[in-house]
Amino acid sequence: MEVIDARVLSREELLPELFFIWLEAPTIAREARPGQFLMVSCGVHKDPLLRRPLCVSRLAPMGNGQTPDRLALLFSVRGRGSLSLGQCQTGDCLSILGPLGKPFRLERASRKVVLVAGGTGLSPLGGLAEEAVRQGKEVTLLLGVESATKMFPPRVIPQGVRLEVASMDGSMGHKGLVTELLAAHLAGADQCFAVGPLGMYKTLARIRPSLPPVPIQISLETRMACGTGLCFACSVPTRQGLRLSCKDGPVFALDEVLWDRL
C-alpha cells in the first residue's frame, strides 16, 4: 500500500457525469488485483476533506511490457467529491492511496464465470473480466443500465465476453432488472461476481434460494472515512460478526453478509 501522486494520462466524459480516467501509477498498478480499490483525494485546501473510495477498473502496461503500470477509474458523479474529481485534466496529479482491500477470488479451476454489473458496478468487473478472459475462461457479462441512452460505450466493455444487457425502460435488451437475467445464465457456471447498488445485492439475496448454488461474490462499499482499517466506520454485519468493508472486503460472499441489517 502506498500514497502516490498519480499523473492523469487521459480523462474522458463517456456520458454526462460518467468519467473514465487513466492514471500513471506503476507502484500501485503492479500490486493491484481486480476488486481492490483506491482512496483518491478530490479536494484542495482540505475540502472535500476525505478521500473517496474508487475501484480499480482496469490495469494495463504503458508500453509493450507485461507488468501493469497504469490503472483506470470508471465512476459516475455521486456528490461533491466525484464531481470535483471528474474535472481533473490530463497532466494533473491526483493523490491516491492503495491498493486497498481484498480482491475478487477468481479460481484457477473455474471454466465458466458470470459477471453481473449494475450500472457503474461495471468498473471493477471490467478488470475482472479481462483477467478471466486472459485465463481462457468463458465469461458472460450481464449489464444493467437505466436506458439505451445510458449504455456504456463499447471501449469500456471488456472484450471477449458474451454480453447481455438489461434496461429499466426496455430501450435496450431485456426490460427490467439485470438480476432477472441471472437464472437463465447461472446454470453450469463455476463462479459468479456481482457489483452494483445495495438494492441489487438485497434482490440477489432474496432470489438466492431460486438460483443454482453457484458461489456469488459481491463488492460492498459501506460508507468509509479512511479506507485503511483505522476508523471502523465501514462495518459490515456478517455471519462471522462485524467485518470492515475496507480491510476484510470490499469483496464478500453474498451469503456471508446479513443483508437485512444493512
Partner: protein
C-alpha cells in the same frame, strides 16, 4: 535538539516519550492497523481505540458523514473488549519501541475502574486515557465529562485501580472545561487531553430524518481546530498538569500553535484518516522548525503564546 520529554512529570514512574506527536484515539485502530502503513515506532505514543469491559458492536450504518473541512462520526465505540485487548494486542505492543496508551470508556464509574484494574501491570500498556467525553454512546461517556463532580468520581475510581499514568480526555460539550480540568487533576489525573469531538447533527433531507440512526454525532477535523486551540489555552492556564492538544491538527504549523497555546504534546486524529502519513509529517515538520529556528528543546515552545 531535544524532542523527548516526560508526559506525566507528576507521576512517580513518569512516561518518557521520544517526541510530542501522538495519535488520537479512534483514528489508528489498535495501533497495529496504522503500523501496517507507516513506521509508527517513530511517534511519541499511540493512543488506541476506546476500549470497554465487554466487546461492543457500535452503532448501525451509516457511521460517518463529511462536513466542510470536517468529519462527523457515530462509530459508537465498536471495540474488542478489554480481555481480547490484553490477550491479542498487548503482547504485540510489549515488543514495540513506541509506548501505547489505552483509551478506556464505560457506562459507570465501576466499569471504568474494572477496565483500569485489568490493564494495571499488563506488559505493553504504558498508560491509560480515560474517555469521559465520547458523544456516541447512549450511556456513560460524555455525561461523566460534562460536570466536575461526576468527572472527578470516575477519575478517582480509576486512580484507585491502577498505578499507570492517567490521561483524562475532556469534552467541550456542555462543560466548563477549566472547572472539569481542575476537578479531574485533583482526583488524580496525570495529564489532560483537550479535547474530544464536538456534538453535531446531520439531516437526510430526502427522508426528512436525522442522517445517523443514533441521531447525534461527533465533529472532528480542521473545522474544529480553532475551538480546540482555545480550550487548550484556557485549560493550560487553569491547571498545573500537562495538557495534550487534540482537535483538527493536520500539519506541523497546527501542532506549533497548540504547543504555543500551552500543550506539551499533540494528538493527530482525523488527518491520519485522510493521509496515514500525517503524524509523521507533523513530526518531521516540527523537527525542521526547531532546526531552522535553532531551538534546543521543544519544551521551550510550550505555552510561549500564553505567557503574557
Amino acid at each position: 535538539m531535544t524532542l523527548s520529554f516526560n508526559l506525566v512529570p507528576g507521576h512517580p514512574g513518569g512516561l518518557w516519550l521520544a517526541n510530542p506527536v501522538l495519535t488520537a484515539s479512534g483514528t489508528c485502530g489498535y495501533g497495529v492497523e496504522l503500523g501496517e502503513i507507516i513506521d509508527i515506532q517513530r511517534l511519541g505514543a499511540i493512543v488506541c481505540k476506546g476500549i470497554t469491559l465487554h466487546p461492543r458492536e457500535g452503532n448501525p450504518q451509516p457511521r460517518v458523514a463529511e462536513t466542510p473541512a470536517g468529519l462527523l462520526n457515530s462509530i459508537g465505540l465498536q471495540n474488542i473488549g478489554v480481555e481480547a485487548l490484553i490477550r491479542d494486542m498487548a503482547p504485540l505492543w510489549a515488543s514495540w519501541r513506541v509506548p501505547v496508551i489505552v483509551n478506556i470508556a464505560g457506562e459507570s464509574a465501576r466499569e471504568y475502574r474494572e477496565v483500569a484494574r485489568r490493564l494495571d501491570g499488563v506488559p505493553g500498556v504504558a498508560g491509560i486515557e480515560v474517555n469521559i467525553s465520547c458523544p456516541n454512546v447512549a450511556q456513560g461517556g460524555m455525561e461523566f465529562g460534562a460536570k466536575p463532580r461526576p468527572a472527578a468520581r470516575v477519575v478517582a475510581a480509576v486512580r484507585k485501580a491502577t498505578g499507570l499514568p492517567l490521561l483524562v480526555k475532556l469534552t467541550p460539550n456542555g462543560a466548563d472545561m477549566p472547572a472539569v480540568a481542575r476537578a479531574v487533576a485533583e482526583a488524580g489525573a496525570d495529564a489532560l487531553t483537550v479535547m474530544n469531538t464536538i456534538l453535531g447533527l446531520a439531516i437526510d433531507t430526502t427522508q426528512r430524518k436525522p442522517f445517523f440512526p443514533a441521531v447525534k454525532a461527533g465533529l472532528s477535523g480542521p473545522a474544529i481546530k480553532p475551538i480546540a486551540l482555545y480550550h487548550v489555552y484556557e485549560v493550560a492556564r487553569a491547571v498545573s498538569v500537562p495538557v495534550v492538544g487534540c482537535g483538527g491538527i493536520a500539519s506541523a504549523t497546527d501542532a506549533l500553535e497548540f504547543l504555543m497555546a500551552g500543550a506539551t504534546a499533540v494528538q493527530v486524529g482525523t488527518a491520519t484518516l485522510v493521509n496515514p502519513k500525517a503524524p509523521l509529517e507533523v513530526l518531521e515538520g516540527l523537527e525542521a522548525y526547531l532546526k531552522q529556528k535553532n531551538i534546543a528543546d521543544v519544551r521551550e515552545l510550550v505555552g510561549a503564546a500564553a505567557k503574557a
